[in-house]
């Protein structure tokens, strides 16, 4: 059984508004609560949903509940649905011990479309994330989701990948149970497929 390396375990789940970031943090939260962990989640949403950066912070503990905010430089795990957002979160919460799992498919900021700014070179971005993490895993979850003809399940593919890395105390059966209990019945099969895809991409 996977144990917490530190208590509390601080985890950031980030991405771009609309990628299903909040759903992901809630699912992980519920799985851990079922295993008798104390979980607190902090979120800010509203305007940020409109294409902006969004992130949730999770505090996971065996002992007690914590405030929703993680002190700077104190994340142990960063799960990012977008590469630029992974680096942005590393700049706030990264440290030499952090584990980062990220989707390599960029979502261009609207400033890139209007040519006000340039999206960073993807290879440099990937290298930077790896260099700033003790361990890092990357996969193109959007491309994989497109193979299932459902870009919306990229977040579940990332959840499968996270489970596969073994950094968080959740296993595949527990995640499957959460999918079955929390998603509408007609979405379960697709999401279980996505989960396995992400899990296998890591294993």
């Amino acid at each position: 059984m996977i144990r917490l390396q530190e208590d509390p375990m601080n985890m950031i789940i980030c991405g771009v508004g609309g990628q299903g970031n909040i759903l992901l943090s809630r699912m992980i939260g519920r799985i851990l609560i079922r295993k008798d962990y104390r979980v607190d989640i902090g979120e800010s949403f509203g305007a940020a949903q409109r294409g902006g950066s969004v992130f949730s912070s999770l505090r996971v503990s065996r002992k007690k509940n914590h405030g929703p905010l993680i002190p700077e430089g104190r994340a142990q795990v960063i799960v990012s649905l977008e590469p630029l957002e992974a680096l942005r979160m590393l700049s706030f919460y990264g440290n030499p011990e952090v584990t980062t799992i990220f989707n390599t498919q960029p979502v261009y900021p609207v400033g890139v479309l209007s040519k006000r700014v340039k999206y960073p070179d993807l290879e440099r971005l990937k290298t930077a994330i790896a260099q700033l993490s003790q361990k890092s895993w990357s996969l193109n979850a959007v491309e994989m989701a497109m193979r299932l003809k459902a870009p919306i399940v990229a977040n579940i593919i990332m959840l499968g990948a996270l489970t596969g890395t073994g950094t968080v105390p959740i296993n595949l059966d527990e995640v499957k149970a959460e999918i079955v209990s929390s998603l509408p019945p007609n979405r379960v099969e697709l999401n279980l497929k996505a989960l396995n895809m992400g899990y296998e991409a890591i294993g």
Binding site: G18, P68, L69, R74, L84, P96, G111, L113, P120, L132
Partner: protein, 635 residues
């Protein structure tokens, strides 16, 4: 187990702060709830509206916060327990009523009323981070604030009891890091929802002859302060004789606790948490600060507690007491409370070294990442009718050639002012203010003002506060044009119902207010157009700009998110014909129209479509100057 279970099991339930506030109100037997959506408060009424579907509760989205408070007060006057919820800006709208309500109290029918106001420190989703704690003394209203999700539930329930006992409304302050944080809470039994409403018509209630009322309010507040001195929500934790005590309200508590643990200072520093902020429980505070000779006030936005504390100390001087906080510069005078802010202040005051990470990592970080991290601006969704409306407006104003001046309003249309909007709005303030400002600019002709005046306003904002300003414009014969972006949703805050949607807070059908008929009845020259017809919209705006008096152009198109949820299809199959596309030479669709579903391919420089997010609205087909974007209408 549901959030609405009558007798919950002890296993606890994982809920958001706003859901906890709603549960607390349900446990206290609330029967009337009303509010206007606004981040971070919206989920309170949303949750209670769900409850109202099966319980003996009235829930409504009111047209604005003042009406919401009036409705809730009516229920309290008639003997029910009620709640109104809003964001900080909304409380300012309600204030005229609330200041009077303090003077009269809630009458003798045994009712109770809470005003829940959720602040947004850091202005995550607001135009400002106004600190509504000051409004409690201003409105002579008791004010309480929770520090955890559990407390949010317990305190809400407690505050309704307090309101009933003292026959006055009580302010409950939420804030983003409470309202939108989630944790596991223990729930208690639901209250009874069986009160009958009735007014006592033999009694006259009004705030006139104000002096006697005011004297009575002061007396009441003094009694409430005495109650606050012994409130279970005020706590001291820490050593008997600490080197320093952190004084904080709800939002400071978790941050201060985090700081003490990070710096391993639990044995040296005490924590004095005040949940009943005003009237300030001065004896409770006085008793505990006697333990030490140094205080740090850890509070967000304004120095509200610092003022209360220093006011108390002016009457009860304590020798050799040093006070640190915003005035001393140890805590910034703006922005939200964070663990790092308290860590930094404590580290400096107690000379405990702290580094958030090693210098080597910090150096590596700035070397590797500084030129890679770019900002991510906010923008309208693909298929949003606002993008089309602003596109047409920009063109019409430009070709009109008289330097038209545009006032804006609050909602998704506000995204125009962000760096990636069209930046067409020249002036933007509060809800409905764009119409009032336009009505004013439209009177400046005699002073040499020749620019056409245009106000852009969303439909929910129109009902909330723009109508009186529009009437003002007609009545005083202003020269202005209102462009009403009618997307049939309060989109920015989460698609809540409003008077123009035909649905109420419970999702049930209701009378739909016809904006067009309303504007005609007010005497406005009224036109309705579809913003997805770009050419037609530009021509219509240009025509209307030439006219005088008050003109209203309703640009009507459903919010794309709402439409897609219902219709689940793309009206157009959009294709970019690469051979025709002029790429970087042109770039109208990418760098000017800025739909997130269109981007320039790095290799070819030509426009490409992101099919996964394209909504198939077909507007880009109309704006491409080289007809290289094609679309087939789906049957």
């Amino acid at each position: 187990m549901s959030l609405f279970d009558k007798k919950p099991e002890d296993t606890g339930r994982f809920v958001m702060g706003n859901e906890a506030i709603a549960r607390g109100a349900l446990e206290a037997g609330v029967q009337f709830v009303a509010g206007y959506p606004g981040t971070p408060s919206s989920e309170i009424i949303q949750t209670l509206s769900e409850a109202a579907k099966t319980m003996n509760i009235h829930a409504e989205w009111s047209t604005n916060e003042k009406v919401a408070c009036e409705g809730a007060a009516a229920a309290a006057f008639a003997g029910l327990r009620s709640l109104s919820a809003m964001k900080n800006a909304g409380m300012s709208v309600a204030l005229d009523f609330l200041t009077h309500l303090s003077y009269t109290g809630l009458g003798d029918r045994g009712g109770a009323m809470l005003v829940v106001v959720c602040d947004d420190p850091n202005a995550h989703s607001s135009g400002d981070e106004t600190d509504s704690r000051w409004l409690a003394p201003f409105a002579s209203a008791p004010l309480v604030e929770a520090s955890t999700i559990q407390e949010a539930k317990d305190l809400t329930r407690w505050a309704l009891d307090l309101s009933e006992e003292f026959k006055c409304f009580v302010m409950v302050r939420g804030y983003t890091r409470l309202s939108h944080a989630s944790s596991t809470i223990r729930m208690d039994e639901l209250g009874e929802f069986n009160r009958q409403a009735r007014s006592d018509s033999s009694v006259a209630i009004n705030p006139y002859l104000g002096l006697t009322h005011h004297a009575a309010v002061l007396e009441k507040l003094e009694k409430i302060r005495e109650r606050f001195e012994h409130s279970p929500f005020n706590v001291y934790e820490g050593p008997k004789k600490p080197e320093l005590i952190i004084v904080c309200g709800g939002s400071g508590k978790p941050c201060a606790g985090e700081a003490l643990e990070s710096l391993k200072l639990r044995d040296r520093v005490g924590l004095l948490k005040i949940g009943t902020l005003w009237p300030f429980p001065r004896n409770f505070v006085k008793k505990h600060i006697g333990r030490t000779q140094a205080l740090l006030l850890a509070e967000e936005v304004d120095p509200f507690l610092e003022h209360q504390l220093k006011d108390m100390l002016a009457d009860n001087p304590v020798e050799n007491l040093r006070i640190f906080g915003k005035r001393s510069g140890h805590i910034p005078g703006f922005g939200e409370m964070t663990p790092d802010r308290v860590i930094k202040a404590l580290s400096a005051l107690l000379k405990v070294p702290y580094s958030r990470r090693s210098r080597a990592y910090q150096k590596k970080l700035s070397q590797i990442s500084s030129d890679l991290i770019i900002s991510r601006g906010l923008t309208w969704c693909p298929g949003c009718p606002h993008r089309a409306s602003f596109w047409a407006l920009e063109r019409a104003v430009k070709t009109d050639g008289r330097d038209g001046y545009v006032t804006g309003d609050i909602g998704c249309s506000t995204l125009d002012v962000f760096p990636e909007g069209k930046e067409r709005m020249n002036l933007l303030h509060a809800m409905g203010s764009g119409t009032g400002l336009a009505s004013g600019f439209g009177q400046l002709g005699p002073f040499g003002y020749t620019q056409p005046v245009i106000n852009v306003c969303g439909d929910s904002t129109f009902f909330h506060a723009a109508i009186p300003a529009l009437i003002n414009g007609v009545y005083n014969q202003s020269n202005m044009m209102l462009v009403l972006l009618d997307n049939s949703a309060t989109a920015m805050t989460g698609f809540q119902a409003h008077p123009g949607t035909g649905f109420n807070a419970l999702g049930r059908p209701t009378e739909k207010i016809d904006i067009e008929k309303l504007c005609v009845a007010l005497g406005c020259q009224t036109t309705v157009w579809d913003p997805f017809d770009i050419k037609g919209t530009v021509a219509t705006i240009r025509n209307l700009l030439k006219k005088e008096g008050v003109r209203v152009l309703i640009l009507r198109r459903n919010c794309e998110i709402v439409r897609m949820k219902k219709e689940k299809n793309k009206p157009f199959v959009v294709v970019v014909e690469e051979e025709r596309c002029k790429g970087e030479e042109c770039a109208v669709c990418t760098s000017q129209f800025r739909c997130p579903a269109l981007f320039q391919d790095v290799k070819t420089g030509k426009t490409k479509l992101k099919e996964d997010i394209c909504s198939g609205c077909g507007v880009c087909i109309q704006i491409c100057p080289f007809k290289s974007i094609k679309g087939e209408k789906r049957a």
